[in-house]
């Protein structure tokens, strides 16, 4: 190009400035700065990239056009969950995390970044109240990582390799955890019974080689584990720890696992004030009791409150920084790096807005709507629930008695603008309801499912006895 390239993102491409800077450092051109890069490694052509949109308005038109081809769950009626949930995000949450001060900060020190330290300390503290535990980390990447790390902590603490998997685990999560821990831990899966842990079988398997028993609640199918106390006792009896993977959204009404003997509670906070973002907004928490044996195994940063030179004033800083890979490279605990701090701030704002009553109301709404959806769907001839466990937010329905595949239900309902859930087997559909799916929405789903089943009924009338399978 003959015109000089000046870009709004690059102030010093202004020709006069660039010339002045080159003169100041005594360089004829920017090429000189690359003297250490051998000629053979230099790219001798422009990168082969699409022509850019340097005018902001053209960029907007281009990207908006691409995103405009998406059809969101606001335009569809969605019962999709399986790890990412359509909960309501209060406007104040977005306002706070979109503040430039938070959005564009990074890793400043406790003085100039006091607000970040306090906001994340508050996140830790608010989660601690919800979970009834004394220590919560600055968020790690996601619930998958939080769980993998929690199990690794159990392994490091005990020097043992055994992990008993007591609940149904989301397959993708299992994949991540397995590849992460496989060098150090062996996972043994104990099949669930009626949706929840087979406590006797798990207890029977626990030995002196067991590092941890791993429980998921709500499980992959949305079942709430009600025998955590017994599982904790089984773990403790052999010197192992109980690791509970969970979604904290229900603990306004449900008893937190810590009250039932859990040693490490971990999971994802996407439900607490984060949009769905195509599954791209997750953050993981790890909560433990205030026991140095546990705390010193945590790889993430932990922000702590400290006194200052002014009596009564509180400041913040890193607790036990020496645990981390920043401090000790491969001798630190796993590693720490840029993870998901902003999502933690979001979850903190969310919990502050909700307060105890809001979380209690939310828990009740979720329990009630889940139960309602179970009743409405299982009332359809040929449709059955797969278990009678207590469910929060998600459950599986089985269409086998109606001889309709889950994929067929999905395909038919999608044509009507409904995402009815995730097919998790030939005849099984994982359905998620939240506070965003009201009675009318659930009724619409049930009506649509009933139509599909009835249509199939006409073709195949072998639907006797299906009622009995319903809860």
């Amino acid at each position: 190009m003959t015109q000089p390239f000046v870009h709004p993102y690059l102030p010093n491409t202004a020709p006069d400035v660039k010339a002045a800077m080159l003169a100041a450092v005594g360089a004829a051109s920017t090429d000189e700065f690359y003297a250490d890069i051998p000629e053979g490694l230099r790219l001798d052509r422009p990168l082969d990239l699409p022509a850019p949109f340097v005018a902001e308005q053209d960029l907007v038109r281009h990207v908006d056009g691409l995103l405009g081809r998406n059809v969101s769950t606001r335009e569809r009626l969605s019962f999709l969950g399986a790890g990412t949930y359509n909960h309501y995000v209060p406007a104040v949450v977005d306002e706070v995390i979109n503040r430039s001060e938070f959005l564009t900060a990074y890793a400043g020190e406790p003085y100039e970044d006091h607000g970040r330290f306090q906001a994340l300390f508050q996140y830790q503290s608010l989660m601690a109240e919800l979970l009834n535990m004394d220590v919560v980390n600055v968020p790690t990447y996601d619930g998958f990582q939080a769980t993998a790390t929690s199990l690794s902590m159990a392994g490091r603490m005990s020097g043992r390799r055994g992990v008993i998997v007591a609940s149904d685990v989301l397959p993708d999560k299992f994949s991540r955890v397995h590849d992460f821990v496989r060098t150090n831990l062996d996972l043994t899966v104990v099949p669930t019974v009626n949706g929840t842990a087979d406590v006797a079988a798990v207890a029977a398997l626990a030995t002196e080689q067991t590092a941890a028993i791993w429980v998921e609640t709500p499980s992959y199918s949305g079942a709430v584990e009600t025998a955590i106390r017994q599982l904790a006792d089984a773990a403790h009896a052999v010197g192992a720890v109980l690791v509970v993977g969970t979604d904290p959204v229900g603990y306004g009404v449900l008893t937190p696992p810590a009250d039932q003997g859990a040693d490490i509670v971990c999971g994802d906070i996407q439900s607490l004030g984060l949009h769905q973002w195509f599954g791209g907004a997750h953050a993981g928490f790890i909560a433990v009791h205030d026991d140095p044996r546990f705390v010193m195994e945590m790889p993430s940063r932990l922000f702590g409150l400290a006194t200052t030179d002014v009596p009564g004033e509180v400041g913040f800083g890193d607790v036990a920084y020496d645990r981390t890979s920043f401090a000790h490279r491969e001798d630190g605990k796993e590693w720490v790096g840029t993870a998901a701090a902003l999502w933690g701030i979001a979850a903190g704002v969310y919990l502050a807005l909700m307060g105890p009553q809001g979380m209690a109301d939310l828990g009740e709404t979720l329990l009630a709507r889940t139960r309602y959806a179970q009743l409405q769907l299982s009332a359809i001839p040929g449709v059955a629930l797969t278990d009678t466990a207590l469910h929060l937010r998600e459950f599986v329905v089985d269409f086998s008695a109606a001889s309709v595949t889950a994929h067929a239900v999905v395909d038919t309902l999608r044509a009507q603008g409904i995402e009815p859930g995730v097919a998790v087997g030939e005849y099984e559909l994982l359905v998620a309801v939240t506070e965003m799916t009201g009675q009318g929405d659930i009724d619409r789903l049930a009506d649509a499912v009933a139509s599909v089943v009835a249509a199939s009924d006409t073709a195949d009338t072998s639907t006797s006895n299906t009622e009995e399978k319903s809860a």
């Binding site: 993102y9 102030p11 250490d36 890069i37 790219l43 990168l47 850019p52 340097v54 908006d64 995103l67 059809v71 606001r74 990412t84 309501y88 104040v92 959005l103 990074y106 003085y111 100039e112 607000g115 306090q118 830790q124 503290s125 608010l126 109240e129 919560v136 619930g143 998958f144 993708d172 999560k173 590849d179 008893t255 769905q276 973002w277 195509f278 599954g279 791209g280 997750h282 953050a283 140095p292 006194t307 002014v310 913040f316 920084y321 401090a327 490279r329 001798d331 840029t338 993870a339 704002v349 807005l353 909700m354 307060g355 209690a360 828990g363 009740e364 329990l367 139960r371 207590l390 009201g438």
Partner: protein
């Protein structure tokens, strides 16, 4: 503001937001679901969250925000290695559509063609920038991307039956610590090499340790010193000659975009930090995004699923038996992927090269200004140009005044500047690392250098001013000793109440 901790603002009965409640028809059908919970499952005491009206919650967090120094507010060259660049505001506008925020990853693929195309296009752009064959955007941070590098290397050697034999990973001390840490976490023994007298990674040392037990070399280039290893291809060739792989940590890629490429030097695998090099905002420490790029030989091991293009249609392919599996939920940090795509499309090939050249110009200009300050030096490779950052030392100033780099950093904050005092590894004495990126104007670089010159002057003339800093911050000198004492540390408000007031 002197804004209290949020728990101090509670007033019983206030509400911040109300929740949609079960409809009468639902209540009638399901009864009292809370009372009906199984024994022991109903929470006994409400969670001790604060009770606050909405405006007070907002005011609290807005005030906290003003107590925080975002990159948009300061001349953010003091957080060296962090690549604090402009995160364009238009990208925030672009991602704030329900077409992205309210998209579920398991929707009908026909409903998510837009985001799939963006992700596919971004993969292609990263492939071109790195020279690699295939790209995955699944990871949500730089360190987890480095983990993914080593996880793929591990799977590759296992697939070739060399999993047991190759149990060592070689890195350099000025490569990011996560290379060492992730290798260790993946089960490898870590060998760390130190620089030669000129500050370049020591090729002879590499020759001495590399061999049939080596699974990979994992290095950064340019290293955190800003020094580019001119013999990097020799290193890669050496690794290949013993059957090892070469993994490239491109956290410091900002100065070499469009100048030199990972694959051209023979690397098998590399990663970029989209939140550093590609202009997504740092979010107080995440969410970030990693991009893993690999050669054709390693492509089968990429995390799954991958995006495939068929004409104008994009789809997700999960049928990949050699994949290391999932590394994160679903398909990556979608907001960052759209931001990074928009950043690339705003600049193009010419613009991206200008980014690198401007970042390097800024760095060498700032180096000249800094080295004019008495007491400051740039160890290693004296008189050589640096790429995108420089690790400096205040050792001379410290010897003269007793003022440490950390004290200088705290004082710099009084001038509204960041200054990174956490310089792992502690090899350079009294270190500080400045990385001006391409985003700051000459006038701003002059201003930053002037602040350090002023603090250095204070260190000589009025050292107490520096030693007793901060003088101009929200909080005063904070007692960090408590934070390492299990009896005193307070990681949550409830722990603080218990330890300090009961």
């Amino acid at each position: 503001w002197d804004e209290p901790v949020i728990f101090e603002l509670t007033t019983p009965g206030e509400r911040g937001v109300l929740v949609s409640r079960p409809e009468p028809g639902v209540r009638e059908a399901v009864g009292d679901v809370v009372a009906d919970l199984p024994a022991g499952m109903r929470r006994e005491k409400p969670a001790a969250l604060p009770e606050m009206g909405q405006m007070r919650v907002l005011r609290h967090y807005l005030r906290l925000s003003q107590e925080n120094l975002g990159a948009d507010f300061n001349i953010d060259v003091g957080q060296g290695t962090c690549t604090m660049k402009y995160a364009p505001k238009v990208n925030e506008t672009l991602i704030s559509t329900p077409k992205l925020t309210e998209l579920h990853p398991l929707q009908d693929q026909g409903d998510v063609q837009g985001i799939l195309e963006i992700m596919w296009s971004l993969e292609r752009a990263v492939a071109e920038i790195s020279g690699m064959h295939s790209v995955s955007l699944h990871t949500s941070g730089g360190s987890t991307a480095i983990w993914t590098n080593i996880a793929m290397i591990r799977a590759y050697h296992e697939a070739n039956g060399e999993g047991e034999q190759r149990d060592e990973v070689i890195t350099t001390i000025f490569s990011h610590p996560s290379n060492a840490a992730t290798a260790k976490a993946a089960g490898y023994k870590v060998i760390t090499l130190y620089p030669d007298a000129d500050g370049y990674p020591d090729a002879e040392a590499l020759r001495a340790v590399i061999g049939p037990r080596t699974a990979a070399i994992m290095i950064t280039n340019p290293e955190d010193t800003g020094i580019f290893n001119p013999r990097v291809k020799e290193w890669v060739d050496l690794a290949h000659s013993v059957g090892a792989l070469a993994s490239y940590d491109q956290a410091n890629a900002n100065g070499i975009l469009g100048i030199t490429r990972a694959r051209d030097a023979g690397f098998d695998v590399c990663h970029f930090n989209l939140h550093k090099t590609f202009g997504t905002p740092h979010g107080c420490g995440g969410p970030g995004s990693g991009a893993n790029a690999v050669s054709e030989a390693l492509a089968p091991f990429l995390p799954g699923p991958v995006i495939v293009r068929d004409g104008d249609r994009f789809a997700l392919d999960s049928d990949r038996p050699q994949s290391i599996g999932k590394v994160a939920p679903f398909y990556g940090v979608a907001p960052n992927l759209v931001r990074a795509y928009a950043w690339i499309m705003a600049l193009g090939a010419e613009g991206i090269k200008a980014v690198a050249e401007t970042a390097v110009l800024n760095n060498n200009y700032l180096m000249k200004k800094i080295l004019e300050i008495p007491g400051a030096s740039a160890p290693y490779a004296t008189g050589r140009r640096r790429i995108e950052q420089v690790r400096y030392s205040w050792q001379e100033l410290f010897e003269e005044t007793g003022i440490s780099s950390e004290e200088i950093g705290i004082r710099a904050s009084d001038f509204g500047m960041h200054y990174w005092t956490s310089h792992h590894p502690y090899v350079v004495p009294q270190p500080f690392t400045l990385e001006p990126t391409e985003s700051y104007s000459m006038a701003e670089l002059d201003e930053y250098a002037a602040v350090l010159a002023e603090v250095a002057r204070e260190a000589r003339e009025t050292p107490e001013v520096v030693r007793t800093a901060p003088h101009n911050q929200t909080v005063h000198h904070t007692h960090h000793d408590d934070l390492d004492d299990p009896e005193r540390w307070a990681i949550t408000w409830r722990a603080y109440q218990r330890k300090y007031f009961s």
